[in-house]
Symmetry: C2
Subunit: 368 residues, 2 copies
């Protein structure tokens, strides 16, 4: 994919400057590094990872990239000694490196930092492209799917733990801390877990505050501390009877399950999204197609992997699904006066169907 | 600070495009948003935050920025309907927005994404600058200091918990997981906590592996899950008697306390660093001034806040301290054959002195 992109754009190198918090960088290098490092891959198969002196030995041991250089190896400290500031010394080091490799045209990803882009563009023909690794990450290997399964199982355990807690504890913050600590102890990092009672639930990204009443959206998307892979799961737990909420929830459950039954290789994500809209509209709810500010106001889903949100989009302008993709299906309905509901599963796309990784009953009522 | 920068560079706007994982964006907007959003501030005081439709109401409620627009408000969706891809629609929306505001020259920070930089540079004069918010973040408000105090107290609790554990548990990974889980349950996220026994302790960034023996560096820098603020603390715990280590530790304790006694408004960070070097050199240890690879090989400290490492540097080329800054003081000594030691406190700079936020005895011996 990278080689055809380089050929296509008549470029010699694709480069990234990022830390491993950047999923594409981590995927490309298979290396965990907390500070930004430089990665280049050439049309002739050359690959080089440049790290600080301190990280060099570890990179040689742990990274997939075979050729490792330290900034020192490339003359960075000589420039510092000449009195240059760190940023100028850094950009000059990389420019010299690329010149040594006879680069004329270079591709950089969308999120490449401006300070380096600006200097490279003064020396080379630089084109900004969508990161090809983001496309390569869409279809998962069996090993990656195992990682996502592993987190999915931890999620189901955490949800069961949450349901027990909810019988006696109703403070959002306490619930969130307890659930996240439960996962953390087991090796999973969950952040911004949504535990949103009636009042908070009308806003899809409100993580929830204060006392949980009426019903609660539980939306969790932890990553494994070891592998970095995520999974994503939502259930709405009904605490007190409320016909409006139950009707909304039933419509979302029907939409989710119909959508999941459509998932297989070859179907377009947009068709799944529009089917979800059809179902919700048939019950009188408004959707993204009416550009409403209430109702179903987000996409049906997204890919999941090293990032919680990654390609493909299950939305307007979606793409054809391929076996091995891992996606979420998550219809929701939000009304300021009533509150919000959402149900979500993470599923693997297969040749002729799909596999749900986050199996749990859809309708959850407290105390049943 | 931003207005003078804009005036200085003859620019009309400073803009950021980032999520709240970016400390400067979070600081500027006082808003937590997981996906990238657009922030602009003008030389006339105009301020605007552009978010997705879904985040608009929450942004209006929670963000410090008064004027909020959604992408839809600015015509994004019309461009999508015309068949433009999301990225082109996005960049065009922002370019039109800036033109409406009569922008001619725009400042962007170092880490501004290349895809947007490239398009803006085709329409405006764009200059890459160090993010002015990074300078504004240096002096903390009383509220920010309270947040850092809160984490500092949690750290002291975690260290006491660690000391008890250490009496029966000596595996670095187990100790790290237990301490980090202890904090997580209480609402604090500690990552890469250094629990480094004799063998690992010689490398300042080695988090420690295997069995802890001889002595152990405990270095922790959690952030509050709620506020995002960090604190930073290190103690070296002596497990077995070792004269070389104890001598190094005593020198570091003296250097730390002398340095802290110098901290007050008006002193330069460089003077503090050089005083630390003086003391360590007086005991025969090598320091950064000799460019040695052993001895005192890092800076004396750094600012702490929304990031663990932020401005100011307490090092060569440091700057004058101001009341309200929160900094670390952390002399350490590292010798490959002997191991390393370090002691560190986080302190608030005051008009005529300082306040230590991480109060704990300096010399810690196991079992005392």
């Amino acid at each position: 994919m990278i080689f055809s992109l380089l050929k296509d754009r008549d470029a010699q190198f694709f480069i990234m400057y990022a830390s491993s918090k950047n999923a594409n960088f981590r995927y490309a290098t298979k290396f965990w590094i907390p500070d930004p490092a430089f990665y280049m891959i050439g049309d002739d198969g050359t690959e080089l990872l440049v790290v600080s002196e301190m990280e060099k030995r570890r990179a040689e041991k742990e990274s997939r990239v075979r050729e490792i250089a330290s900034l020192n190896d490339l003359g960075f400290y000589e420039k510092i000694k000449e009195g240059k500031n760190a940023k100028d010394a850094l950009t000059e080091t990389y420019i010299e490196l690329l010149k040594t490799h006879h680069a004329r045209k270079i591709l950089v990803p969308d999120d490449f930092p401006a300070f380096l882009y600006e200097k490279l563009a003064q020396n080379f023909d630089v084109e900004v492209v969508e990161n090809p690794y983001a496309d390569m990450r869409k279809v998962k290997t069996p090993e990656e799917i195992e990682h996502i399964k592993d987190v999915s199982n931890a999620i189901i355990g955490a949800f069961q733990f949450f349901l027990k807690l909810l019988e006696k504890e109703r403070d959002s913050e306490t619930l969130r801390n307890s659930v996240e600590a439960h996962l953390y102890e087991r090796g999973y990092l969950a952040q911004d877990t949504i535990i949103a009672g009636k009042a908070s639930s009308a806003y899809p990204h409100d993580i929830g505050h204060g006392r949980v009443e009426g019903h609660v959206i539980f939306d969790i998307f932890p990553g494994s501390k070891k592998t970095g892979y995520h999974s994503d799961f939502t259930r709405t737990v009904v605490i007190e009877k409320n016909q409006e909420i139950e009707d909304m929830l039933k419509a979302c459950i029907e939409a989710k399950n119909t959508a999941i039954s459509m998932v297989k290789e070859g179907i377009n994500g947009e068709d799944i999204h529009f089917r979800v809209c059809d179902i919700l509209e048939s019950y009188g709810y408004r959707t993204t197609r009416q550009k409403s500010r209430e109702g179903f106001i987000h996409s049906t889903g997204h890919g999941v992997g090293l990032e919680v949100h990654e390609k493909p989009r299950i939305f307007d302008g979606g793409e054809e699904l391929k076996a091995g993709m891992v996606i979420t299906v998550e219809p929701g309905l939000y009304y300021e006066k009533v509150g919000g509901v959402r149900v979500e599963d993470t599923v693997v796309v297969k040749k002729s169907g799909s596999e749900i990784l986050t199996k749990f009953e859809d309708y959850v009522r407290l105390g049943r």
